[in-house]
Amino acid sequence: MARTVWNSTVGKKTVMAVSGLVMLLYLVAHMLGNLKIFFGTDEFNHYAHWLRTVGEPLMHYEWTLWVIRVVLVVAVVAHAVSAYQLSRRDIKARPSKYVHKKPRAGYATRTMRWGGIILGLFIVWHILDLTTGTVHSGGFESGKPYQNVVDTFSTWYGNAIYIVAMLAVGLHIRHGFWSAAQTLGVGSRTRDRALKAVADVLALLLTAGFLAVPVGVMTGVVS
């Protein structure tokens, strides 16, 4: 069965839909967690620490976090590999373009591939910046995420990279969520408007929620 799924274009799209929804679920939790920064240093740092102790005493320190990380890595890799293979196939299936070109499809639909690549690169930067601190601008201190976040958004490039990525994620979700519903076969004519509305609201809320943090630092609300 796994082979049937992976070898079919319809099956590979299913892999993309499921992995995309897993990442979307994570993004919602991540965005809500980020907003705790507006309650001050102690509450935000305490929340970050709690993330490492979730599930204790059943789980050891950071175990739950590592389970989530592994699931996410699997989702990202599955999503990216399927997207790469399907895109190569799509480009091969339409080798010669029409002489008479017309503007096609919505902006969100047309930017899925480039948007996805931008998001992939962003994730690498984001982890190196705020998880490992490798490319962090200030003096990175693990266990002090509040100060680390403020440091990142005190640089112009930190803000620029983040804002571009969050706009990309909004567009990606706008087409992606609705598409996932079609791929998984849950869409229908009667549900179409509702699904599109949910996709739009999710995209808007996530983008706004994530952007609230750099905007908060820039305006001095978070410092």
Binding site: T9, A93, R94, Y98, V99, R104, V186
Partner: protein
């Protein structure tokens, strides 16, 4: 009407093609697009040139033979087949671009004619029901609920012209394949082969080198018969169901 046509000319499958420009005069707004091309071809023959090759058959909008991407739209600016498109949709003095369907699964045979036999092979893979032939069965012997009959008929309208493939940015045949699958899978007559049909037809579609669906929606916009985009959603649902069932066996 006087028009300037820019038409894709290609001697054969192996030759390189290019757009050639022609002037046509004396076109009536009541002519169909194909009759306009007939007029051009008559002139070309009189001049001793090779006429433009294009596919056509019934010229009633029901056979699916005609094709042509006109000004970047499959079947042109109206939501119908090229044979049912009339010159009144254009203005005097217009320049019109005419190109063949573009997809690697639909290789150009000559000029505007493409080989659509990939569609036939998708049908061969499962677009039928296995039943003894003979005299027509009694109509009330197999009851079909009205919503199912409507659903089947909406998808049975597909004439297999390939406009969906031509319009799709990925050269995908999802709308065609889904229409053919949904048409039979919803009916009691199609039920015995419900799972093998969707699995085999999707596999054949992939084998033919069509692209995948990115839900751009161009196919449903181009379809002269109005097959909805949700047809693809329904096929995905059938495919997932069949895959789950096959996994259990």
């Amino acid at each position: 009407m006087k028009l300037t046509l820019r038409v894709w000319r290609q001697k054969n499958a192996d030759a390189d093609g290019a757009m050639s420009t022609y002037e046509v005069d004396g076109i009536s707004p009541d002519m169909s697009f194909l009759e306009m091309l007939d007029t051009l071809n008559e002139e070309l023959i009189l001049r001793g040139e090779d006429p433009v090759a294009f596919d056509h058959d019934c010229r009633e909008g029901i056979c699916g033979a005609c094709s042509l991407v006109i000004n970047g739209d499959a079947h042109g600016p109206e939501r119908t087949t090229t044979c049912q498109l009339h010159m009144r949709s254009f203005k005097d003095g217009d320049t019109i671009d005419v190109e063949p369907w573009r997809a690697s699964a639909f290789p150009v045979v000559k000029d505007l004619v493409v080989d659509r036999s990939a569609f036939d092979r998708i049908i061969e893979a499962g677009g039928y029901i296995t039943a003894p032939t003979g005299s027509a069965p009694e109509a009330h012997a197999t009851p079909v609920p009205k919503p199912d009959a409507d659903f089947a008929f909406e998808h049975a309208e597909c004439i297999g012209c390939g406009a969906c493939v031509a319009a799709c940015p990925n050269g995908a045949a999802m709308l065609f394949t889904s229409a053919k699958i949904n048409h039979l899978n919803v009916l009691p007559q199609g039920a015995p082969e419900r799972e093998t049909r969707v699995l085999d037809m999707v596999a054949q579609m992939d084998d033919e080198g069509f692209g995948g669906c990115t839900l751009a929606g161009e196919c449903a916009t181009a379809c002269p018969k109005g097959i909805p985009l949700t047809s693809i959603t329904a096929m995905n649902r059938e495919w997932l169901r069949a895959t789950r069932k096959a996994g259990k066996r």
